[in-house]
Every structure is written in structure tokens, then in C-alpha cells.
């Protein structure tokens, strides 16, 4: 087989100058493939954007291409941005995500520092455990968690069900394991000489962490922060299970449950809402793409 291939290749070889042409053809082929995939990947967001610019009347008129916008309007966006309900969703999502990012980073940074540098009894097992936790899907845990918080409410008298803040307690289970895991990687790659030098200078562990590790591992910190934010922003299952009334919903669930109601869908507004809900992660991605991708590829990640 291989020999035959070699022969046929050798037979083709005398056509000098064909290599360059071959490369050009390969490149053209690549671009055609690429165009196909870009269309496949970008069609839904583009179509969402087109729909969001249409009025309900234009959407429901069946003549003409659905891919054209005849009278673009921003009224769908305006309608949502002046709706108190939508702003509440936005505020809930933002508050939760910011709190979760802070909690996650505090827990992860300390844990990762300790697991990467200051071994203690069982620290290797714990690092593996952190990784395993990251593999546990949320869908396995939401029912027992729901029941646990019902039980906690009955015991403590604090309302946990249908309150947005319960999500601040639950989301770290999704973010902390992964952030700890990638931070361990970033911290472990810092040369030991750096902290030895700091110890010789009489630095405490806290000083080593804050004055040596954090500045050096800044890219890792940014990647972890982005991850924590996007995960808590995008989560759908937990708010779906834990919150019901419209003043407690997050943006994703709010759009899915309140804008989609009855038989009359205001598709323009739904699409505008969905795009605005997608905007924060997209903006972060647009500006910090390299950190975002570094976070994705650091250690094999979920997908």
C-alpha cells in the first residue's frame, strides 16, 4: 500500500512547479471549506440579529425572504430596555455573576496555591478530587441540592427556594473546581527559585502568594475569572429549578419563560432579549479572546 502510494507520488513528481500550484489549490479548497463552516456557525446569531430588527408585523407577513429586513427598527431593544422586568433579570444575572466570580476567585486562588506549592497530607488526593468534581455534571446534582435547600429552609427559617441568592451558593460548585484546576497548572509552572528567593528575603506565605504568584500568574487569573463569569452567566438549569417568580429569575431563564408565553410569540423581542443576554460573554470574548481560549485549552476542558 505505502509502496504503491510512494510510486504514484514519484510518478507525479516530474511535473516541476506543480507543488506551488498544488498548495494554491489546497488553500482555495481550505477557504471554500472555511466559508461553509463560518456560514454554518454564524447563521443562527446573524438570523437572530436580523429578526431582532423587525417589527412583529414584518415577521408575520409571509411574503418575501425572511432573511431580509425591510424596515429595520430598534423598538424591540428599546421595549426591553425600558421594561422593568427585563432590567430586573439583567440585574439579577449581573449581581449573581459578580458575587460568584469573587467567591470563586478567593476560594480557588488560596486552594490552588496550597495544592501547587505547600503540600500537606492528602493534598495530591485532593487535587485529583477537585478534578473529579469538575467532571460531575450539574444535572446529576440539582434534585438533591433542591431538596437540601428545602430542608435547610425548614430548619433555619431562611427562605432559599425562589431566591436569587441561593444561586450564589450553588454556582461555585460549577466554577471553583475548574478554576482551581487551571490555577494549579499556572502556579505549578512558576519556577521554584522565585518563591525560594522570596522566602530568603523573609516573605510570609501570604506575601509570596500576593506579591509573587498573583502577578506572575495574571494570565491564569484572567482566564479563570472569565471562565467563572461566563459559566455563571450562562447557567440555565439551576435558576430553572430554583427560581420561579419573575423578580428572582436570571436573564436566560427570564427570557425563556416570560417572553415566550401563550401562543403569541413576539419573536423580534425574544431575539433582541437573547442577543442582549449573549452580549456580555461575547464582549468579554471579543476583547480578551486569547485569555478566553487559554482558559479553554488549559487542561482538557468540558465541551
Amino acid at each position: 500500500m505505502a509502496a504503491a502510494a510512494t510510486l504514484s507520488q514519484a510518478g507525479a513528481a516530474p511535473r516541476y512547479g506543480s507543488l506551488k500550484r498544488q498548495r494554491q489549490w489546497a488553500l482555495v479548497l481550505s477557504y471554500i471549506c472555511l466559508a461553509f463552516f463560518v456560514i454554518f456557525f454564524l447563521t443562527p446569531p446573524v438570523y437572530m440579529f436580523l429578526t431582532s430588527l423587525k417589527t412583529s408585523r414584518e415577521i408575520s407577513s409571509l411574503d418575501g425572504s425572511p432573511w431580509m429586513v425591510h424596515a429595520p427598527t430598534l423598538s424591540n431593544y428599546g421595549g426591553l430596555l425600558t421594561s422593568a422586568q427585563f432590567l430586573t433579570f439583567f440585574q439579577n444575572s449581573l449581581t449573581i455573576s459578580v458575587i460568584v466570580v469573587i467567591v470563586t476567585m478567593v476560594i480557588s486562588v488560596f486552594a490552588a496555591f496550597s495544592l501547587a506549592r505547600m503540600k500537606f497530607w492528602g493534598s495530591t488526593a485532593l487535587a485529583t478530587g477537585v478534578f473529579l468534581t469538575y467532571l460531575v455534571p450539574e444535572t446529576l446534582l440539582f434534585i438533591p441540592l433542591f431538596k437540601t435547600f428545602v430542608f435547610l429552609r425548614d430548619v433555619t427559617g431562611i427562605e432559599f427556594i425562589n431566591r436569587w441568592y441561593v444561586l450564589c451558593i450553588i454556582y461555585p460548585t460549577l466554577t471553583v473546581p475548574f478554576c482551581t484546576w487551571i490555577l494549579i497548572g499556572y502556579f505549578a509552572s512558576i519556577p521554584k527559585e522565585l518563591d525560594e528567593a522570596a522566602i530568603v528575603d523573609g516573605a510570609s506565605y501570604m506575601q509570596i502568594l500576593f506579591k509573587v504568584f498573583l502577578p506572575v500568574a495574571l494570565p491564569g487569573l484572567i482566564a479563570a475569572t472569565i471562565f467563572a463569569f461566563t459559566v455563571s452567566w450562562a447557567n440555565f438549569l439551576y435558576p430553572m429549578a430554583f427560581t420561579t417568580t419573575s423578580d428572582q429569575l436570571t436573564l436566560n431563564v427570564g427570557i425563556v419563560t416570560t417572553l415566550v408565553k401563550g401562543d403569541v410569540f413576539n419573536w423580534g423581542q425574544i431575539m433582541a432579549g437573547a442577543l442582549m443576554a449573549a452580549a456580555p460573554p461575547l464582549i468579554i470574548y471579543a476583547f480578551l479572546m486569547d485569555y478566553y481560549i487559554a482558559g479553554l485549552t488549559a487542561g482538557a476542558t468540558k465541551g
Binding site: P45, F236, L282, A286, G303
Partner: protein, 310 residues
């Protein structure tokens, strides 16, 4: 030489240790442990405990007052819908992961073949589906699938193909949820493979080219073996996540038509939260555990191997 010196330092280290006072290292590990304490508490209280609690919940009756042993499982096994969910979960996860892996690999190759200058821009565009929260992009797909205003059917109409009942027909609905999942997940595979492709030494391809390998042979004998590890690990990860998928099925079909697109997660949600039968829901979600455990064993073995290689 190098081995001799490392061996020497290994011998030296234990000898050097007793000079340090024992209390210092004990204090050190106490500090280290304290720093990990929030992590341990979080994982213990909100991951490990709920997991075992769900084992307990699965053995209770609907009002959670009586122990019924494996009664819930026995009940599920008699339900036709449950077996349909099992089948659909397997079909959904396996076909979606295979499609994602193949498309991811293709796109990664195509992007890798581009001149280095333009790669960043294209890569940036191709990752967009992964960045949008899946529940939101699924809304967009839902609208494209809409029976009366379907933009996809309009396009199909241009080439003369009949309107497709994307979400109305159970089998088309199964295809649609897989399609959306592939759309969402393939960019992730692409980014992982692209990173891995960059680490394959160019000299291997040059050697293959000198030996007269064509593009296909380079792929089979050079690229795939070099990417074997990363392919295995992304496929395993994706298998876990796809098996546990909730957002896409929930938004797109809600499990219908005729419960044919339910996967474990959405079925568990329907039973546990919506029908308020928490034990039965816990039962269903526990069925995701075996696949998780198997995948975890393989992933851990891989990490262990990599650890010993380095």
C-alpha cells in the same frame, strides 16, 4: 551524568530534612490545609453530600416518608417512556459527540492550513457558538425551526426541497436537537484540536512528504497518532457533558413530541421538579452516573500516565 546528580539530590533531601524543625513543617501543612478548607467544605457540602443524598432520595416513596428500597428503579424499568429516554440519551450523546469530533477536526485542519496571519480572525469567528449561552442560541435555532416562519425551510424551498417538520416530527426533532448540540459543541473541539495541531512538529510532516505521503496519509499516519491523547480526552469530556445536556433539549423541544427527545436531564427535571416526584427524578438522574464513572476512570488514567511521563 544527569541521572547521577538527580539521584544524588534525592538521597540528600531526606538527610537535609531533619535539620528543619518538625513543628515548622507541621505549621506549614496546617496553613496549607486552612487555605484549602473553603474548597473542601464547598465540595463536601454541595457536591459529595448531594450525591450521596440522591442515592438516599432514590430509595424513598413520592412523599418521601417511606423507604421503598429499589422500588423506584423497578417502577422506572416497567415504563416504556424511561427506556425511550435511555435510548434517546445514548443516541443523542454518541452521535452528537462523533459529529462534533469529526467537524471539529475538519475545521481545525482547515484553519491550520491558512496563512498564520489570518488564522486569529477566523478562529475568533468560529468560536462564537461556544461563547453564546446555549439557552439563548437555542432560542435562535427554535425560531429558525419554527413551523410557519421557518427560515431554514424557506432556504430549502429555494432549492425545491419540501418543508421539513423540524420540531413537529419526533425523528426530525431528534435530529434537530443533535444538530443544535453539534453546532454549539463543535467549535470547542476545533479550538482544542487547533491547539494540539500547532504542537505537532513540522519536521514529521516534512519527513512524511519526503517519503511520498499524500495528504490523506499524513492525516492517518502523522496527525491522528499525534493527536490521539487530546482526541480521547475531548471525546470523553464531551461525552459526559452531552449525556448530561439540559439546556438545548429543554428550550428546543421540552422533551416532546411524544417524549421522544427527552434525555436523562430533562426527564429528571420533568419528574423531579415539575411533577414534584423528587425520588423518581433523583433515580433518573442517577443513571448518568455510570457513564460518568467510566469516563472518569479513563481520564484519570490518562492524567496519571501523563504525570509519569513528565
Amino acid at each position: 551524568m544527569a541521572r547521577a546528580t538527580t539521584a544524588g539530590s534525592v538521597v540528600l533531601a531526606p538527610a537535609a530534612r531533619p535539620i528543619r524543625s518538625g513543628s515548622l513543617s507541621r505549621r506549614r501543612s496546617l496553613i496549607a490545609f486552612t487555605m484549602c478548607l473553603p474548597l473542601i467544605l464547598l465540595i463536601g457540602a454541595l457536591v459529595v453530600y448531594p450525591f450521596f443524598y440522591s442515592l438516599h432520595l432514590a430509595t424513598l416513596n413520592k412523599s418521601m416518608t417511606k423507604f421503598v428500597g429499589l422500588g423506584n428503579f423497578a417502577f422506572l424499568f416497567t415504563r416504556e417512556t424511561f427506556w425511550m429516554v435511555v435510548r434517546q440519551s445514548v443516541i443523542f450523546a454518541v452521535s452528537a459527540v462523533i459529529a462534533k469530533a469529526i467537524i471539529g477536526l475538519m475545521v481545525a485542519h482547515v484553519v491550520h492550513a491558512l496563512p498564520a496571519k489570518g488564522q486569529r480572525k477566523w478562529r475568533g469567528m468560529l468560536l462564537v457558538p461556544w461563547v453564546i449561552p446555549p439557552a439563548m442560541s437555542t432560542l435562535g435555532w427554535w425560531w429558525m425551526f419554527d413551523p410557519s416562519y421557518s427560515a431554514l425551510n424557506w432556504l430549502l424551498g429555494l432549492v425545491g426541497a419540501g418543508p421539513v417538520p423540524w420540531l413537529g416530527d419526533p425523528y426530525w426533532a431528534r435530529f434537530s436537537v443533535i444538530l443544535v448540540n453539534v453546532w454549539f459543541g463543535a467549535p470547542f473541539f476545533m479550538i482544542m484540536y487547533l491547539a494540539a495541531l500547532k504542537s505537532v512538529p513540522e519536521t514529521l510532516y516534512e519527513a512524511a512528504a519526503i517519503d511520498g505521503a499524500n495528504a490523506w496519509q499524513k492525516l492517518i499516519y502523522v496527525t491522528l497518532p499525534m493527536l490521539r491523547n487530546i482526541i480521547a480526552i475531548t471525546v470523553l469530556f464531551s461525552l459526559i457533558v452531552t449525556f448530561a445536556n439540559f439546556d438545548i433539549v429543554r428550550v428546543l423541544t421540552g422533551g416532546g413530541p411524544r417524549d421522544m427527545t427527552h434525555v436523562f436531564a430533562t426527564y429528571a427535571f420533568k419528574l423531579g421538579i415539575e411533577s414534584n416526584d423528587i425520588p423518581l427524578g433523583a433515580c433518573v438522574s442517577l443513571f448518568m452516573f455510570p457513564i460518568l464513572a467510566i469516563a472518569a476512570v479513563f481520564i484519570l488514567r490518562d492524567i496519571h500516565q501523563r504525570g509519569t511521563q513528565v
